[in-house]
């Protein structure tokens, strides 16, 4: 097995009742690679991402992350998830905790780091996402962009090997999108392995190593952004891109 493959999804299928959302997905992500998944809503891209950390249980197929077969019943999912960071569209910060506590809670309760160590790491990460002065703010007191940056810091505090971004900027006011994309971009430049479901074509074009276009539960086309976004081969990709880029 190749140690440089961080995520390896094979023949992944997922149904919700009669709704066959994923129809045989194969996807590998190399260490340090930034893969952007694009596609129309309902194409299954979020479901695919949520299967990578098993928030959704696949109907069939295997998901191997960092050599752990998550679809194997013997696999300790809680342990595996500490290596897989996830950022959600709705931020999902814990509203009863301050920014600092949000970033510390899993370090303390899951990784059993000492309070001092967790705090030090949290301070470092809050500084990195540009929110060092917001330690004691509650999520409700922060803008969407600030909340999402704290959510990124919270995920990074676990020192994950791969980060999943599920439409991380879709719920933000347009003027706040940039600050979050900037954090994601710097993360990519530092060599983080990233799987990003996004509608931000500019981000995909400039940051992604590879773009995956999905439609109706299958991967239609994938390759470097210069190919998939700038010169798509498939008709479905072209019609999707023209509808997003020309609005």
């Amino acid at each position: 097995m190749n140690a440089d493959i961080v995520v390896n999804v094979t023949n992944l299928n997922k149904s919700f009742g009669d709704n066959h959302v994923l129809r045989g997905i194969d996807l590998q992500v190399q260490r340090g690679e930034v893969v952007c998944i694009i596609g129309p809503s309902g194409s299954g891209k979020s479901t695919l991402l949520r299967c990578v950390n098993m928030l959704e249980t696949p109907t069939a197929g295997t998901v191997v992350v960092l050599g752990r077969n998550l679809t194997d019943i013997e696999c300790d999912l809680d342990e595996a998830r500490t290596h897989i960071g996830m950022v959600f569209q709705q931020f999902n910060l814990f509203p009863h905790m301050t920014a600092l506590e949000n970033v510390c809670v899993a370090q303390r309760k899951v990784l059993k780091r000492s309070a001092a160590e967790a705090k030090e790491i949290a301070h470092g990460l809050l500084a990195r996402v540009g929110l060092v002065e917001k330690d004691n703010a509650y999520p409700a007191q922060l803008s969407g962009g600030q909340q999402q940056r704290i959510a990124i810091a919270r995920a990074l505090a676990m020192k994950p090997d791969v980060m999943l971004f599920d439409e991380a900027t879709s719920a933000l006011d347009p003027e706040l999108v940039g600050e979050v994309l900037q954090v994601m971009q710097s993360l990519a430049h530092e060599g983080m392995t990233m799987l990003v479901v996004t509608h931000e074509m500019g981000f995909a074009k400039s940051v992604a190593d590879r773009v995956v276009f999905m439609d109706a539960g299958v991967i239609v086309e994938q390759g470097p952004p210069s190919q998939v976004i700038s010169a798509p081969v498939e008709e479905r990709t072209r019609s999707f891109l023209s509808s997003v880029l020309n609005h």
Partner: protein, 263 residues
């Protein structure tokens, strides 16, 4: 000329005020206040109620309420978690329990558990407080389970997902993330349940009481029998109000505060 709609509405409001005041005046004039006061509020009887109505009767009411509430919230949390469980027999058991104990009047439950079980089994309640408080808490737990379940379900699904994605187990996520948020939601309705429990303890006296375990309502009733006057019941009612009014005001305040915070 016909009145405009708004003018009509304005006159209508005046009419409402006048009618209300007229009814109040009639009631005040036609009631025989002397007779009413004599039968229901005699000062010498009021004074006789103290201090026992507070040191004994109200104390017992509080003991029954606190025991009932503590048991109710513990079992209520258990049944709420069972109802939310992925294990079907747990869900069925909890749902059945809740439906049964919410569907039978407390009075009937008290009699079945307080008298029926000892008669049927030969087993006796070791303690008269428990004999009243345990049936009370079993019924309370059915109501509280539904309140707690609603509170837990009101916490957005994304909270559990975020906690799990950070590597927390289901139990850890419940304890650290979900239940603290659910508590904020359910404190006002649980306080209301507490008020209901205070009042429901008045039924416990049907199980027969000793002088030591008399609650407020029974104390008032016995007072009526001794004095042939309704004053003791009125005093008991006022003592209930002294306990419940601050709590209902507290709930109103908490609800105003959450409303203001969510704005």
């Amino acid at each position: 000329m016909a009145l405009s709609k708004r003018k009509k509405a304005m006159y209508m409001r005046y009419v409402m005020y006048i009618v209300s005041i007229a009814i109040l005046i009639v009631v005040i004039l036609f009631i025989d206040w002397g007779r009413l006061g004599n039968a229901m509020f005699r000062w010498n009887i009021v004074k006789d109620q103290f201090p026992n109505i507070l040191t004994k009767a109200a104390k017992n009411t509080v003991v029954f309420t606190v025991l009932g509430f503590t048991g109710g919230i513990s079992f209520g949390l258990l049944f709420a978690l069972m109802r939310l469980s992925t294990i079907r027999p747990y869900r069925w058991f909890a749902a059945t329990y809740i439906e049964i104990f919410r569907g039978i009047p407390l009075l009937v439950t008290l009699l079945i558990l307080g008298f029926g079980i000892p008669i049927a089994t030969g087993w006796h309640w070791p303690n008269p407080y428990l004999q009243g408080a345990i049936p009370l808490s079993l019924v309370a737990s059915a109501y509280m389970a539904e309140t707690i379940r609603a509170g837990i379900e009101a916490v957005p699904k994304g909270q559990m997902e975020a906690a799990r994605s950070l590597g927390m187990s289901y139990a850890r996520a419940m304890i650290t993330i979900i239940i603290p948020q659910a508590l904020r939601i359910i404190v006002p309705p649980l306080t209301n349940e507490f008020v209901l429990l205070i009042k429901d303890t008045s039924l416990i006296s049907v199980l027969g009481v000793t002088a030591a375990t008399k609650d407020l309502a029974r104390f008032g009733r016995d007072g009526v029998n001794q004095t042939a006057n309704a004053t003791p019941l009125i005093v008991a009612g006022l003592v209930y109000l002294a306990m419940t009014l601050p709590l209902t005001q507290l709930v109103a305040w908490m609800e105003r505060r959450t409303k203001a915070a969510s704005r």
